[in-house]
Each structure stands twice: as structure tokens, then as C-alpha cells.
Symmetry: C2
Subunit: 223 residues, 2 copies
DNA sequence: TAGATTGTTAATCGATTAACAATC
DNA sequence: TAGATTGTTAATCGATTAACAATC
């Protein structure tokens, strides 16, 4: 029974950690010695208990009446997420979304970096986008081997997603951050995380309709 | 008691609906008369029960032994999400991510359209990005009124997010699709949906670390 | 001491999955 | 009829919230 007991990581906690990290870093510049959940929720709008539970899972203790030491928390979050050591990834598909990701400044703060970008469009090859050179996909296998990169963000058109993903896996990649709307079929030991923009839009428009319905109900009851 | 009973919308179902919509549309081109959950899960990898529950919430019935009529489902999903009538929105912040959203083809399929984009960078004003003209933010209030647009996607730098959001609300906007890492403080009747890219990265890198840990465990037990 | 806070255990809520009945 | 499927009710799982004890 090699370490089988502790199975309870809250995935939503992990989703929230970067938000804590952002606010903590900002507040830390003011060089405060302690920060309480009360202060945190003034910026993030979570329930106080939720924050304390989230922070508790980092394993670093707060001090009653005072709160937590911000830099301790910051380190603990970075450690927990593995954002303390630099992660290098390839970007495949240097279109609109791909370009946006290459230009996304915050990644540097999170210890994440795109070291090369790939495309098949001859017009793009050889050009630089936000300081990252765009290469032809045919060069990917060789470069991946030489640079030891085995993680990639996938921002190709949906119809090529599966083929490109398979190619990546065949070349030893074991982590794919999938920004396409395609559900990828991959070996079980490959980590794949789907971003799903359409799902976000669905939720947003649904909330809008709900609001509209509520408003209509109020209007009719008001006369 | 005006219609208070039925409070149980599954938000995760809503998130998944676009995935069904995509596959259904594609399969519908093959002009099949019926499609079963068995066929759907060959493309999407959800549990069969989950699919049936999701589809059940649309209120349209399937036929035993056969499945569902794809075009019926398509219409029902569009209706359910409000994607049958065109939604017009402004985009505020024509940087990398903003540009990517303007160029995102799928939005058209979802009945969603950006009719104007705004920025403060003089170098961008007047130019067109993916067919959408970029205007100075100062023109936003007037245009919003004239065009009747009250929904916006927010892709400005984090430090301006709150100010711009407040400005939007002051000008009658009631829907904000927030792509910044900032948690916005807005009146309760304003619908705000956060996209949170950093949270996605956190989840992805966490899964990667988990995989690495598992692999290390396997390696040591293998010798 | 009184009060603000952490931190934990139990209760609740929401979503998924299991079991199975219904039926074409 | 047998078999594949829909569709529903109950069980389970995971995450949030409520209640409260501990303490500086």
C-alpha cells in the first residue's frame, strides 16, 4: 500500500489558486506582513470559508488574529502548481488564438514559456511573433528531441486537431493543452486539457437569457 | 407562486451543449435520419447516461432503438442557448487576445458577432481587424446607444479592467464576458462571465505534475 | 478580557453514475 | 421475440457552505 490513502484534491481549488497568486503578489508589493482572508475576499469575491479551505490545502498555517504571510503563501502556491520551475512548451498553430497566446504576458509570471511556434502557412514561416520564431511543422519532431520539449498548446483549425495531436504523441509529447473545439482521442497516459471557449460562450449567453427572463417577469408583475 | 417550482438547470450541461451541437452539425451533413447516444459518444467521450440526461433537459424525445433526429436536436440546442437569434457585442481591447476573438470563425456558427472593437492605442484606431473596425473608446457610449449594443467582451490589460467595466455599466451594458484575470466588482443585475485562462493553465500543469509523480512511482516499483 | 481570526467537522447542495424499467 | 436503445429514479461522489471550536 504505497501511499494510497490521500486521494482528495479539489480541482476547483486548483482553478482558483492563480487568482490568489495574482492578488497576493500585488498586495505583497505593499510589503504588508500579514494578510487575512477578510482582506483577500475584498479583492476576490469568494466566501471566506472557501478561501480558508483553499489555503489550508497548501499546508502552510496562518496566525490567528493576523492572517497569513503573503510571501509564504505565494511560494506555497507556486510550489503546489509547479510554477516555480520553468515549463517550456511548443505552440502548434500560429493563427489568431495562437498569436494571442504567444503574446500573453502573464505566462512569464507563471513560469510558463513558449520556446517555438509551428505552422504550415508558408507566409508565416520564418517570421517572429512576439519574439517567438514560427517554424514549419516538419521541423517539430527534430527540434522537440533536441530541446527536450514534450508539452504543447494546440491552436490549429479544428479539422486538423486530431491529426496534429497524434503526431505530437508519436513524437513523445505527453501533455497537450487543447484550444480547439475538437475532443481528442489519445492514449490514456497523455495529459490533455481542453479549454473549450464555446462552452464559456454557452454559459455566458445562458446567463444573459436568464437575466432577460427575470427582467420580463419583474416588468409584468410591476404593472 | 408564479412558476417557482422548476429550479434545476445543470450548468455543466450547458457547457457541454456546444460540443453536441458541433458533432451533430457535422454528422447531420451526412443526412442520417437518426443518431443514437452510442454514436455521439464515439466522437465526444462522455458517459452514455450523461449524454441522455443532457439531451433530456432539452425536452425533445428520442425514439427507442433508433435515437434522436439530429436536426431536431440541433434546433433544440440553439433554442436552449439562445443561439438562434443573432447576438451582437462590442469588443473592448483590441490587443492579441481581442484580435484572436475577432478572428474566431466559430462565433458566426453560434449566432454571435462583434460589430465593433475599441481601443485607446492611436496606432490601432481606424484600422480593421478581421473585418471589424477599431474605434477609440471615447466613441463607445454614443455608438452603443445608436446600435443598441449592451453586451461586451473585455480584453483590456488587467490594470484597466475594472475601470473599463464600470464605464460599460454606466453606459447601460448588462453583459460582460471577462477575459482579464481581474475579478470585477459590478452591480448584481449585471451578468458577468469570467474566462480565466490562468485557472486553465493551473489545472493543466497540475495534471502534468500528477502524471510525473505517478510515473516516478511506477519506475521505482519496477526495479 | 473581548474580538478577530484560523481551521476543522458536519450538513447541504449539485452533478455524475449506477441500476433498471419501458419500449420499439 | 430478442436486443438495442431511451429515459427515470436512486445511490454516490465531489465541492461548497454552515456551525463552531481553538487561539492569539
Amino acid at each position: 500500500m504505497t501511499e494510497t490513502g490521500k486521494r482528495t484534491v479539489n480541482l476547483q481549488t486548483i482553478r482558483r489558486l492563480p487568482a490568489y497568486l495574482n492578488t497576493l503578489r500585488r498586495l505583497n508589493q505593499a510589503a504588508v506582513e500579514y494578510i487575512s482572508t477578510t482582506e483577500l475576499i475584498a479583492h476576490l469575491k469568494y466566501e471566506p470559508v472557501l478561501v480558508r479551505k483553499d489555503l489550508a490545502s497548501l499546508g502552510i498555517p496562518g496566525r490567528q488574529r493576523l492572517g497569513y504571510k503573503p510571501d509564504e503563501l505565494i511560494h506555497a502556491i507556486e510550489e503546489y502548481l509547479g510554477w516555480n520551475k520553468d515549463g517550456e512548451a511548443f505552440l502548434v498553430g500560429a493563427g489568431g488564438l495562437g498569436g494571442a497566446l504567444l503574446g500573453y504576458r502573464k505566462f512569464a509570471e507563471y513560469g510558463f514559456k513558449f520556446v517555438a511556434a509551428f505552422d504550415i502557412d508558408p507566409a508565416k514561416i520564418g517570421k517572429k511573433l512576439h519574439g517567438v520564431e514560427i517554424l514549419h511543422v516538419s521541423r517539430l519532431p527534430d527540434l522537440a528531441k533536441r530541446m527536450g520539449v514534450r508539452i504543447a498548446a494546440l491552436t490549429v483549425p479544428a479539422e486538423h486537431a486530431q491529426a496534429v495531436a497524434t503526431m505530437l504523441v508519436d513524437n513523445g509529447f505527453f501533455g497537450i493543452w487543447n484550444f480547439t473545439s475538437e475532443e481528442l482521442h489519445l492514449p490514456v497516459d497523455v495529459v490533455c486539457h481542453n479549454e473549450n471557449l464555446a462552452g464559456g460562450l454557452a454559459l455566458f449567453t445562458y446567463k444573459l437569457r436568464e437575466r432577460a427572463a427575470k427582467e420580463a417577469a419583474n416588468d409584468s408583475s410591476a404593472d
